[in-house]
């Protein structure tokens, strides 16, 4: 039997909650950004040992900057710690953010289905917000991202 278990968290990042109707994204979310912010948070809250023990399985698997969705993997033992650390992240590169968990699953497959659904719904919302300025490029990128989700492996 598989002794080692992981937890896959699907989160959305809410940028700049205080600003009103930010038309332009203050910060672009990338894998690197998110990883750094979360690692810093773990370090501050759980210390060196906490960071070291959770770093083994910790990985940001997928980030979509248009819909601001990310998938993060953590080991089952530490996933609650990592989740708390993520909740306590206040900013990414000087832009205040809120991480909100959408789905937590034990397998990558379940996570993929949930993430696909959330991504599509969020993209619809994004289209509403952006309105007519929606570019074909964005749609293309979305397609690329959706494919990326489908290709995720653990």
């Amino acid at each position: 039997m598989v002794g080692f278990k992981n937890r896959y968290m699907t989160l959305e990042v809410i940028l700049d909650p205080n600003k009103e109707l930010a038309k332009k994204d203050p910060v672009i979310i990338t894998t690197y950004n998110v990883t750094k912010a979360i690692k810093d948070s773990i370090l501050v809250n759980f210390g060196e040992c906490g960071l070291a023990s959770s770093l083994g399985s910790f990985q940001v698997k997928y980030v979509n900057e248009i819909t601001r969705l990310c998938i993060i993997r953590a080991s089952r033992e530490d996933h609650q710690k990592v989740w708390s650390a993520i909740t306590m992240v206040r900013s990414i590169a000087d832009c205040p953010v809120i991480f909100n968990l959408l789905d937590l699953s034990g397998s990558i497959r379940a996570c993929k289905t949930a993430a696909l659904k959330c991504d599509e719904l969020k993209f619809e919302q994004h289209k509403l917000v952006v309105g007519s300025i929606l570019s074909a490029q964005d749609t293309q990128k979305m397609q690329f991202y959706l494919d990326k989700i489908k290709g995720l492996e653990h």
Partner: protein
């Protein structure tokens, strides 16, 4: 189960700060919260200036901050399992900093200033104030500032006394997120509290100064794991505990001695229309003076006692938008909307008023029940959704307590829903019926019998209003009537009424809807909660098994042995457990939901019921069995949308057999739930009045059954053995 954040700071500062609050509330809405409470802190002596003057936010102001609120709200609510149509509620809260015992003395129930707020909290600053707060003061919440070194000790006996008095301790999480030093202090101090309270009676709120420190409900629950609070308790702390708190507080505020609802009636006919806003009878737990949003449209209504007109217009808009935004449930919404016009409600209200005029109690109850179109709408829609989509989702997260709470509020709306003449939609009728049933049950548990009885006349008054078209309405009336009559006489009358109604319903609509209506009637008629529950539960389970056929058969076969109904009563109770398992197996969402609701109700009402049952059984043998039968009958038809009469014949036969078996099994302590249910259904539809045997047995056995919950399979086998034997 909705999530609440009971501490959104409010200050009297000039307008620039108001936008912060609006942003916060927008964020809360978006993250899926169902309600917030604006918290105002005062120190020192309370004066008349401190009366509640917190303006509630309206939907337009929130939309200003985020124009696409509805879509994101809907998205998050779906993820959290909160029904989309849950209104967003706004409450007002006052936190009094108590330093000296003299200041603390002002916090009693006689203080008029406190009455203007929905929730009252005390913030003790020293040991003596804390002692008083735990033991004597009549507050809802004890809020301790954990970000500083605690000026007093949390002693175990004091904390225990506070928990017994149903006072909740509050932990705020904004400090955890904001600052590192604060974080340290909070964790150290709050951990003490969690240790002493063992995680009970705790509510979590944000006290967030800006929208940056706001977090989603599940994230907050996880943060509490840092304080050694288990995930389950943490989730309860942001949902169930808050809801209990709010319902208690609102009840204290609006009800005199927990029975009579006091409302300020605006002058003129508009008052009726306004009543729904203030008397959210359907959902009178979290009634906020500023009602929340409706469905996806999230039209927040800022109600005040004076703005009747605004309420009306808002309501109208809500319904229209509801229709637009809810395509899948569109027909229901339309029905609701057409039926739930303010104008419509008014005649109902007047009717009710007229009927209940002579009795103060009745009036109060009636007014509650009369209105709340929005509530009605919501409940109906929720119910519809429920039935059409994933009822499990809606209910799976709810505890029995929640169910109980829901039941209680539903009671009133049921009455109202019935009264409404415009519920053309069958499903609506069913939904209302179901709601009614539920509410009825809760009503029974909570309301005084007298009140219930009074309601009966009210419903009869409403009867003439309802046209033949709306079966649900007529059924409601019957149900109300039946439920209310505690005495045997009333029961008989109810039974009689029900019988013809059911038959009449059957003839009209072979559809399952008829069954539904009959169910409701039956449910109502049951005097005791347990009876109702039993009946409901079995019927649901039965539905899963013999959905279509049974429903019709029940409706069509009024003559079922009296014995069967009685048996069912007994078997219902034990069967309930099995049924629940079965229903789950069958993925019958509806039954699950109902079961859950019922179970919750049952658990709460069982002690009451047993007592009631004993008395009732002695007095009215006839009534009890009839109710059960009726209930069962109703249950079955609900599921069947396309019942056919032919199938019923087969079932009736089976039912009779099963009924007999059931009786045998009862004695052995095992009830074949499956079999019993179809039998029950049939028997119910029949003349329940005719023969009632073993009423006494019925009352005692059910409890026993509960104690010895047998697995489904075993029961089956035993049943067969009995049959063979």
């Amino acid at each position: 189960m909705g999530f609440f954040d009971l501490s959104v700071p409010y200050t009297d500062l000039p307008p620039p700060d108001r936008s912060t609050r609006a942003k916060l509330v927008t964020k809360a809405l978006q993250l899926g919260y169902s309600g917030v409470a604006y918290n105002r802190t005062i120190k020192g002596v309370m004066s008349d200036r401190d009366r509640c003057s917190i303006p509630l936010l309206t939907l337009p102001s929130l939309l200003k901050h985020s124009p696409h609120l509805t879509s994101s709200v809907g998205f998050h609510r779906d993820l959290l399992g909160v029904p989309r149509s849950t209104p967003f509620r706004q409450y007002t809260r006052l936190t009094v900093c108590a330093e000296t015992p003299a200041q603390a003395q002002t916090l009693n129930s006689g203080n008029p200033i406190l009455k203007t707020y929905d929730l009252v909290a005390v913030k003790p600053m020293n040991q003596s104030a804390f002692d008083q707060a735990c033991e004597k003061l009549e507050v809802d919440i004890i809020a301790i500032d954990f970000s500083e070194k605690l000026p007093f000790r949390l002693k175990q006996p004091l904390v225990k006394a506070a928990i017994e008095r149903k006072v909740y301790f509050e932990i705020t999480y904004a400090g955890l997120i904001a600052d590192v030093q604060t974080r340290r202090q909070i964790i150290t101090n709050a951990k003490l509290l969690v240790d002493w309270t063992r995680g009970r009676n705790i509510i979590i709120s944000s006290a967030a100064p800006t929208a940056n420190e706001f977090r989603g409900p599940y994230d907050v629950a996880n943060l509490m794991s840092l304080l050694d609070l288990s995930m389950e308790r943490a989730k309860a702390a942001i949902s169930r505990n808050c809801r209990t708190l709010i319902s208690n507080a609102v009840r204290k505020k609006h009800y005199y001695k927990e029975a009579i609802r006091v409302e300020v009636l605006p002058s003129g006919q508009e008052s009726d229309g306004n009543k729904p806003s203030s008397s959210d009878s359907f959902n009178w737990d979290p009634i906020s003076s500023g009602e929340g949003d409706l469905l996806l449209d999230d039209l927040a209504k800022a109600f005040s006692n004076s703005s009747t007109k605004a309420t009306k217009t808002v309501k109208a808009i809500d319904f229209a938008s509801v229709i637009d935004s809810m395509p899948s449930l569109g027909f229901q919404v339309n029905d609701l909307i057409s039926g739930t016009n303010v104008v419509v409600s008014q005649p109902l209200a007047t009717q009710k008023n007229i009927v209940s005029a002579p009795q103060l109690n009745v009036q109060s109850v009636a007014t509650d029940g009369v209105q709340e179109q929005s509530v009605l709408c919501d409940t109906m829609l929720e119910w519809q959704r429920f039935r059409s989509k994933n009822p499990q989702k809606l209910y799976s997260s709810s505890d029995t307590t929640k169910a109980v709470n829901n039941v209680i509020p539903i009671e009133d709306p049921l009455i109202t829903t019935r009264a409404e003449p415009n519920s053309p939609d069958e499903t609506d009728g069913i939904a209302t019926d179901i709601h009614d049933v539920q509410s009825q049950k809760s009503a029974i548990a909570n309301a005084v019998n007298d009140v219930m009885e009074i309601e009966v006349p009210t419903t009869t008054g409403a009867e003439p209003m309802n046209s033949a078209e709306s079966m649900g309405i007529t059924k409601e009336i019957h149900d109300v009537q039946s439920l209310k009559s505690v005495t045997a006489k009333t029961f008989k009358d109810a039974m009689e009424i029900e019988a013809p109604t059911t038959t009449g319903a059957e003839t009209k609509n072979p559809d399952g809807i008829d069954g539904v209506t009959t169910e409701i009637l039956n449910v109502r008629s049951q005097k005791s909660m347990t009876n109702c529950k039993l009946n409901v539960v079995p019927s649901q389970v039965n539905l899963t098994y013999h959905a279509l056929d049974i429903g019709l058969s029940v409706a069509c076969n009024p003559e079922s042995g009296v014995q069967v109904p009685t048996n069912y009563q007994d078997s219902d109770i034990p069967g309930r457990h099995n049924e629940e398992a079965d229903s789950i197996k069958n993925n019958d969402i509806q039954s699950d939901l109902v079961d859950e609701v019922l179970t919750g109700k049952e658990k709460n009402f069982l002690p009451l019921d047993s007592a009631l049952d004993k008395s009732i059984s002695e007095v009215d043998e006839l009534t009890e069995p009839g109710d059960d039968v009726v209930v069962l009958a109703n249950q079955v038809p609900v599921l069947d949308s396309s019942d056919e009469m032919t199938a019923t014949d087969d079932y009736s036969v089976a039912n009779h057999e099963t009924a007999e078996v059931i009786m045998d099994e009862q004695e052995h302590g095992k009830a074949d739930i499956e079999l019993s249910y179809p039998a029950l259904v049939q028997s119910e539809s029949g003349k329940s009045k005719a023969k009632r045997k073993k009423p006494h047995q019925v009352t005692f056995l059910p409890l026993k059954r509960l104690l010895h919950a047998t697995p489904f399979k075993k029961a089956r086998k035993s049943k067969r053995r009995h049959k063979m034997a």
